[in-house]
Each structure stands twice: as C-alpha cells, then as structure tokens.
C-alpha cells in the first residue's frame, strides 16, 4: 500500500497576459501564502520541487533564480523538472513514499509573455524530422482536430461547444484570463486559423504560477481539518512520432486511468488539460467519464494557460472543490507535448 499523502494547502496566481513581476517574485508570494495558511516556518518544509521551462524564460538556468521564491537560505533540499508542476507533484509524491520526510512544497510557474510560444514549442519535437519545420502545437492540434472530424467522432460545432461552455465557466473563476458568454453560432462564424481550428479553439497566452503543500498522513491531519488525499497518480507517454499515433485516441491516458483506478468510484469533477478544444473530445473518450461528471468547472486552460503551471492548476481546482465540499472524489489531468503526447492523472478524494 502506498503511503497516504494529502494536499494540505493550495495557492495560485490569476492567469494574466503579462505580469510585470518576475517568476521568483510570483513564487515567493505563493510560498508565503502556503506557509501562512498552515502556520509552518520555512524550515518545516522538508523538500521543494518546481516545474518551469528555461526556454520560456529565455535564459539558461532561469530555474535556479526561481529558488529565490521558495527561500533557499539556510540551504534547502530541492529539485526541479523541465515539466509542468503536476509532474513535480508526482515526483514529490514518490519522494514522500520513502517515509523519511513529511512535507513537500510543489510549484509550477511560467511566463510565456516575453517570447513567442509558437516558436518555442517546436523545440519539444524530434530534432531531426520535426523541430526544423517549426512544427508547433497549434498546427498539430489542427491535425488532431481534422482527424476527429474525418473519423466522425466530432463536428466543428462540438469544438465550438467546448469553447462556449468553458469560457462561460470562466466567468465564475476569479483566476480566469479569458472569460465570456459567447454563443456557439457566433463562434462558428469566425475565420479559420489552423483549419479546422479557429483562434478561439486555442488557449490564451498566459503568465502565472501555482503551488501546493503536501504532507504524509499524520502530519496532513495535523496541518488541516480538510486534507485532500491523493488516491492515485500516474503519468504515461505516447510516441513522439505523430505518424505512429492515432490522434483520435489517447492510449497513454487509458493506461494512466487504469493506474489510478479512475473507475474505482464515482468521479464528481474532472479538471482536464484542454489546451485546444478538440482535446476535450479525445479525453472524454479515453477517460470514459460518466455523464454525471462535471468537466472543467474552472473553464480549464481555454480560460488561462500559464504553461508549466496549467496542469498543477487542474490539481488545485479539483482539490479546492473537495475542500469546499462540492465534490467528494475528482480527477485532475495534466498534459505536455503536442496533441496530448504526455498525460498525467491524479485522483483526489475527501477524507
């Protein structure tokens, strides 16, 4: 049996088009909020781990500056991933399984505003046959969208419905960057951008950060009356060669769903990393979510996409609903790479 580990406090910045503050400054604000909420001194945090991307920051070793935000003196035990903060949560969860430490601070942060994400993200792809083409996630999302249409699994109206519902949900999310009540028919009149996708099928370009504090069973119960238990966490990856993938499905999500025993109980809420509207169609099918599951009540990444924090924000959105009592069991999904290449699932549950 894995060690019982719970989320005991969460914090996120609103997603914004541009923050004047630096990334370490955003992380410092979140760290201080988490410590204030739990009443812990910095020295009580045994392990710190962050996800961020030097290519987004435009500076080699930018992640080292971010450590300022967590407080690094006297010297601390910390680690970093060039991945979304949700993967940092995975690593922290694995680390706490060893049983020798109790509390970990997990963060994800990114400022996409200084650079051009569409020029940076091709660097995630194969360096011989894809990256030199500037093959960007928007274009690959367009290929995935067309594959869904051709397979008869979705219509352009379905894509627009995802956008309309998500952006309307964003109206009640104080952290959403893009939010509006817009009808499906109005969306379908917009011109194509990467056909069959229109600009509104894409996420906004965002700056932002997110952080959570997790603790082992006994410590978690001492730190909060409402621990949110991590019942399962798993991440899987599909081939990085698009030609080897069926873009209408997500085999890696299906494997991860088994890994977290997704269907071992009812799922009240699912926060999915839908960066491009067709991804919701793929994820709904792969995760086989029941009709009663509420999907992306926060509006999801279509309302705010602080790259490297977007996945961890999904975890926070589910955790908050469990803490507030509006959900008992939920799943957070994080993704990385073009067309949902990598997927992480985290099942959270009330006490």
């Amino acid at each position: 049996m894995p060690e019982e580990i719970a989320i005991v406090a969460v914090a996120q910045t609103p997603a914004r088009r541009r923050y004047a503050d630096s990334e370490p400054s955003m992380l410092m604000e979140l760290t201080n909020r988490l410590l204030a909420e739990t009443g812990l001194p910095r020295s009580a945090v045994d392990f710190t781990i962050a996800g961020s991307c030097d290519y987004l920051s435009g500076l080699p070793f930018a992640f080292v500056s971010n450590v300022d935000g967590f407080g690094a003196w006297p010297p601390v035990y910390e680690s970093h991933l060039e991945m979304d903060g949700a993967w940092a949560l995975f690593e922290a969860w694995v680390r706490l399984q060893m049983g020798d430490i109790d509390i970990a601070l997990v963060a994800g942060s990114g400022k996409s505003s200084p650079g051009s994400p569409r020029e940076i993200f091709p660097l995630q792809t194969d360096p011989y046959v894809a990256a030199p083409l500037g093959l960007d996630p928007v274009s690959v999302a367009g290929l995935q969208a067309r594959a869904l249409l051709d397979a008869g699994l979705a219509t352009e109206r379905d894509f627009a419905e995802v956008v309309s519902r998500s952006r309307r949900s964003g109206l009640s999310n104080p952290n959403a960057q893009v939010k509006k009540d817009v009808a499906v028919d109005a969306l379908l009149k917009e011109p194509y951008y990467a056909s069959p996708l229109r600009k509104h099928d894409l996420p906004p370009i965002s700056d932002g950060a997110a952080a959570v504090l997790i603790a082992r069973g006994k410590r978690a119960r001492e730190l909060t009356k409402r621990p949110v238990w991590i019942r399962g966490i798993d991440h899987r990856i599909d081939s990085h060669h698009l030609g080897l993938r069926d873009l209408t499905d997500s085999p890696s999500c299906r494997i991860a769903a088994k890994g977290v025993d997704l269907h071992g109980g009812p799922i009240d809420v699912a926060e999915l990393c839908v960066r491009y509207s067709p991804e919701e169609i793929v994820l709904r099918r792969a995760l086989e979510l029941a009709p009663g599951t509420q999907i992306n009540p926060s509006g999801g990444p279509l309302c705010g996409h602080p790259v490297m924090a977007t996945g961890l924000v999904r975890v926070i959105e589910v955790a908050q609903r469990i803490r507030e009592g509006s959900a008992r069991r939920g799943v957070a999904h994080a993704a990385s790479g073009p067309a949902l290449q990598q997927n992480l699932l985290c099942v959270l549950e009330a006490s």
């Binding site: 500056s65 069959p196 698009l242």
Partner: protein
Amino acid sequence: MSCESSTPRVSDGVHRDRLRRMSSLPPVRYQLEYPYTRTTGPIVGAFLTALRDGKLLGIRCGSRVLCPPLEYDPASGETLAPDFVEVGPGGTILSWTWIAEPSRKHPFAKPFAFALIRPDGADTAICHAVAASGPEALHTGGRVRTQYRAERRGAITDLYFAPEAEAESQYIPPGKGAVEMTEHLISLEFSEPLSPHRERYARALLDGKFIGQRSPASGKVYLPSKGYDPIERVQMSERDDVVVADTGTVVAYTVITPVQYYGQKETEPYIRASVLLDGADQPLGQQDIRTIPLAEFRSGLRVRAVWKSRAERSVVDVDNRWGGTGAVIERWEPTGEPDVSFEKIREHNW
C-alpha cells in the same frame, strides 16, 4: 484648439498618463541562441542523405515500412537493421491543417498546410509541409507528391510536398558523400518591459546614481535589487529604494581568457570583478575592468565609478535578470585609499 499650449497639463489625467508612457524605457529585447550540431547515425543519416539526393526513404520493420525511418521497432524497442526502401514520390493525405498565419520558424512565409502524409509504399505517415494554392486544393485522402528545394543541405527542410495537380517535375542531381552531421540553429527572440524596480534602477544609472533596495526585514541593501529580499522572502517596493555611493571595494575578481565559441566577441584576456559599493550589502557582479593592469589588480582595492557623460549613457543592456550596470560607466579607477582588509570582505570573497 490651434493655440493649445504645448506645456504638459498635469491636471489632465489622460495627458499625464500619456506622458508617463512616453517616458517609459523601451522594453528589454534579447535573443537566445543554441547552435546545435548533431551526429545523424546510420539510420537518420541515410534518410537525410537520400533527401539531399531527392529520394524519400522508409525502413523495414517486420512486415511494415516506417517513414520517416526509425532506429528501433516502436512496438518492442528492438534495433532495426538498415534495410531501407525508397517510398513515394506520391503520397496520400491522412490529415491536414491550413496555416493561415505562418510563424517565422515555418518552412513557408505564405499560408501553407501541415499534413500527415503516407508515402506510397510506406505504412506510416510523415508530418510535413504542403505548398498549395489554397485550402481548396487539399482534402483528406488527397494525393500529394514530394518536391525538393533548389538548395539542399541534408535536412528535413530539403523536402516539402505539393498537391499532385500542382507539383512540378524535378531533376535532383545527387550530392557528394553521406550526411553525418546536421546543424540546427535554435534562435529565439524575447521582449519584456523592465519590471518597476529595475526601471527605477536604470533611470538612476542614467542620472549617475546607484539605487538599491533596503530589506525592511533584515536591513540589508540589495543592488541591483530583484524587487525582493531572497533570504527573508519579503517583497520590496519603491519605499525601500536607497541611493548608495559610487565608490566601493573589489571583493572578488577573475581573469577570463576568451575561448572562441559561437557568439564570442572577446579576443584578449580581461578582468571581471565584483565591486561592493559603499552602503550596499550585495556586490555588483561582472564589472568590466580594462584600464587597471592585472599586476595591480587585487581584492580589497578601493575603486570609484567614472561615469560617462550624460549624453553617452545608455541602459540598453540593463535587463530584469542580471541587472548589469549598462553602458553608463566609462571605467572603474582606484581611489588611492588604503586597501580594505580581507576580514572585512570575507563574506563576499569566494
């Protein structure tokens, strides 16, 4: 209206706002470049060599042919023998997207399509660009044909596709030798406004002053400040700004003998020093020393900033990361005061 005064009317909120924006320093622009040179190995190398010579190769994997060729069986991870098959030049579109506004990194500046294309004779698709007259020329199941650039260098960009009806017949003369290396220059551009505290620091440099920030928690003066105290984890504001002296002490230095890497501009050895200004608790790093002979240079040396004339000062190299001192200082010169003892600068000497 014609006789409106040109004097700024500070009571006019809109006007004042415009003035403030006009007076903002320009955004920081910088470029990040990594010139990658990669060995190609026996499989990718053969594929790229063939592209240079106007041929598209697949590789046998059991009963299937994979294009682009992989070094391994994607199902088992087993190494594949270099058993190549020429595929194409025709192919079938499996999916496509019309790129209305190409990025600077795309293969075409004008609108084009990315498509998944299964070349004739292959069982998998290659993702590549299709040059077409418009989206009407494309449909799933449509036929395309390989096309090659006039100038080829053994890279994936030597190739593109066109709808069969729009493709040209080409003669591609084979090149010499095998493609054993590929070069890929990663070049990204960034632009961001100076953060508020860094803008005040830069403005002070233009005025011939150094501004730091005094931590309300520890009293330590950070220069150039990052806008927070990293030790006490306290955010700072304009209230915490303090002016420090333009005299200080060399607390550490190094002599750099330049290696001629990509982007290197230096040719002769030079000194980089950390200078702890009087009144600051954090040394200014990376100070360029050109006029004090190495034999006379030492930690503990007292120095003074010699400012450029106001008209010559520039802060274009002040950014949100390192801060820098911009092109505002002509040089650092010894003050002639006695050296500061090592004991007093020990904390900063490493």
